[in-house]
């Protein structure tokens, strides 16, 4: 085994595993929260677990982690239940109710933490967790069921630390629970009214979800701190929201993104500063949150369907199409008015009102063989004329339709018709069902009769 690998296994592996499992455990319930538009519940729960954690410790007087986790989970659920009750009973706004409840609970937690002198819970751990300090433990410290001997066995590192085992177990349990009840969760989130009438108890489902959120928050809270808990819950879910349109894929993608966020975050926090020449690592949980934010921004810009780039591209495409048809239409009308010499680019720009894009559109049309440059300016080729005819025909049919069927005034129909003429369905131009040979301005509708454009 190379020394580097050994260092990796000895120093980094436990923390890396812990943060990855934490990512999965948090991202699954978190993605459901995003779908249900209750993301701030994650924030509230991750704050509210503190008094439960410390309270259980103070009451039992021991660092029995099982007891502390139970106390924290209870506190998390209590916070959600209390703010829901407050909202229901007093018609208080949901955000306000949860803000009041979780901040009071967190204050109580801070007070307990400070006022108990011998608590060896570090307030910093509450925020940042202790990913960096999760390490292999000597065999004798570990409990019964996760004492698997390591494959190296030379005594320097012995058993997987408890946090890793707990996080792995929690991630599996959460994935299992969500998988089993997925149908019910989706229905209760989408349409609680129907769920009630079908007897599928949406209240029970959302309570169960809160329990999962609290469970994830608690196990991850201990390992990675409250900051990262919120980030792990929301960032993957919000990112996945931009990448898929199916609930099942959304949850699975979130789980993957959560794991990736943990891995990358660890790399950025623990290794990147060293690689960049700093002598100290930065806090891993903070780095992972930043990775989550970067992930979201990437998806926001680059997502294939819902990303800003894709949307901008689609919009530009439509604009190009519209401009192309506007140019063709303008040339056709010019020919109709008897300007056989064609229109020059300047006149075209005046008609269409779009700057340099018109020039580009003309060049593209010329390349496609639909227009040609003559002495007096641009003219339609026969192929171009055929297409332009269809556009102008649609425009005038729409004008006729708007006047005849919707009762608009003739001088009000040009602008709406200029938009409607571009409508396509299934690759074909849409024409209104209206019969006539002349439009409201008494111009011929091409193709309606045999008469050719003048």
């Amino acid at each position: 085994m190379s020394p580097a690998l050994r260092v990796f296994i000895e120093v980094d592996l436990p923390g890396l595993l812990a943060i990855t499992f934490a990512g999965v455990a948090c991202a699954i319930p978190g993605s459901l929260l995003v779908l249900r538009r209750e993301s701030m519940t994650g924030d509230a729960v991750s704050h509210a677990v503190l008094p439960g954690l410390v309270g259980a410790f103070l009451l039992s007087g021991s660092r029995d982690w099982g007891l502390m986790l139970a106390g924290a989970a209870c506190a998390g659920v209590a916070c959600v239940v209390a703010s829901e009750a407050l909202r229901r009973l007093t018609r208080m706004e949901a955000g306000l109710a949860s803000g009041v409840v979780f901040s009071v609970m967190f204050a109580l937690g801070v007070l307990l933490l400070r006022s108990a002198e011998h608590v060896d819970l570090d307030p910093d751990c509450v925020l940042y967790g202790q990913v960096e300090s999760i390490a292999w433990s000597p065999a004798r410290d570990a409990g019964a069921f996760w004492t698997w001997r390591t494959w190296l066995g030379d005594g320097s590192f012995e058993t997987m630390p408890r946090q890793v085992a707990v996080l792995a177990g929690a991630a599996c349990a959460i994935a299992l629970a969500v998988g089993v009840f997925f149908k019910e969760i989706v229905l209760a989130s989408f349409d609680a009214g129907l769920a009630t009438t079908l007897g599928l108890r949406p209240r029970a489902v959302s309570r169960g979800l809160v329990v999962l959120v609290a469970l994830a928050a608690v196990v991850a809270f201990e390992a990675v701190g409250s900051v990262l808990v919120i980030a792990l819950m929301v960032c993957p879910g919000a990112t996945a929201r931009l990448l898929t349109d199916r609930a099942g894929r959304h949850v699975m993608l979130s789980a993957g993104l959560g794991a990736g966020m943990g891995l990358l975050g660890y790399a950025c926090g623990a290794w990147l500063p060293g690689a960049l020449g700093f002598d100290r690592a930065v806090v891993v949980s903070g780095a992972a949150s930043c990775v989550g934010g970067a992930m979201f921004v990437c998806a926001l810009v680059l997502a294939p369907r819902h990303g800003l780039l894709a949307e901008g591209w689609r919009r530009a495409e439509v604009r190009r199409l519209v401009l192309r048809e506007d140019v063709l239409g303008a040339l056709y009308r010019a020919a109709e008015l008897g300007r056989a010499a064609g229109l020059d680019a300047v006149a075209l720009r005046r008609v269409i009102g779009s700057g340099p894009a018109t020039g580009r559109a003309l060049r593209r049309l010329a390349a496609a063989g639909l227009v040609r440059q003559a002495a007096g300016g641009w003219m339609l080729t026969p192929a171009g004329e055929a297409e332009a005819k269809g556009i102008v025909r649609a425009h005038r049919l729409w004008e006729l339709y708007l006047v005849r069927e919707l009762g608009l005034r003739p001088d009000h129909v040009h602008d709406p018709a200029s938009e409607l003429e571009h409508l396509r369905a299934g690759g074909k131009r849409v024409e209104p069902k209206v019969a006539g040979t002349r439009d409201p301005h008494d111009r011929a509708i091409p193709g309606a009769t045999e008469e050719a454009p003048g």
Partner: protein, 282 residues
Amino acid sequence: MDVQRHRRAGAPRSLDALPEHSASSPLSIHALTVAYGRRPVLWNVDYDAPAGSLIAIVGPNGAGKSTLIRAALGLLRPASGKVEFWGRPYGEVRGRIGYVPQRESVDWDFPVSALDVVCMGRYGRIGWVRRVGRAHREAARACLSRVGLGDLGDRQISRLSGGQQQRVFIARALAQEADLYFMDEPFAGVDAATERAIVDVLRALRSEGRTVICVHHDVQSVREYFDAVILLNMRIVASGPVGEAFTRENLQRTYGGRLTLLDAAGEAMARGEVAPRGGHGA
């Protein structure tokens, strides 16, 4: 005088009359009072739905139309009163009752496909935990075809038009295969094609002997679409077959003395004509 008025409205008051009519009626409501906080929004509603008919609930805004449906389905807890279906409480006959909520009541951005939504109608039959099997999926697809959306099953619901979304909801109700349907404003804000598709579905349901109760906002089309009507404004003003209960006088007592908006429709109805349908698409 008020006793007189209630008799005419077709709602029996006396307690003695209670037990005899409930067993056959798909829905019987007695003395239903619903209060939000301390203010009642429905007061002492008595009603028996005739089986196998299309029934409209009509009334002004805030009259408690949706509240009536929601209370009947147990989505709201009434202050007092009793609701029975075929003479039995709701919990026992859940599977025979379908529900179409208002379209705005759900998040149409939710990442599910149209077919997924229709499959939800079968969840009551499928039960907890079990997956949606192929048979259920096929049944759902058939329902989607019945409302004319057979080829849009895989489309995400936010990419459907408003009318198509409403039809998905109707298909979901069909998938429930219920004997009694409650629909909350199924015709609200839909295009003419959807309206026709929904009416066809309603008539098909009636011909199969099922009962449909719709909250309806368009007074003009009541006579054309429905067999029976409930005129509601916090209490039942009148109820019964459209020909008897849907009179100009009763409408006036529901919508108030100044029935300006409804006058044209009222006159058309008084002459026994069907009011002309608005819009160019019809």
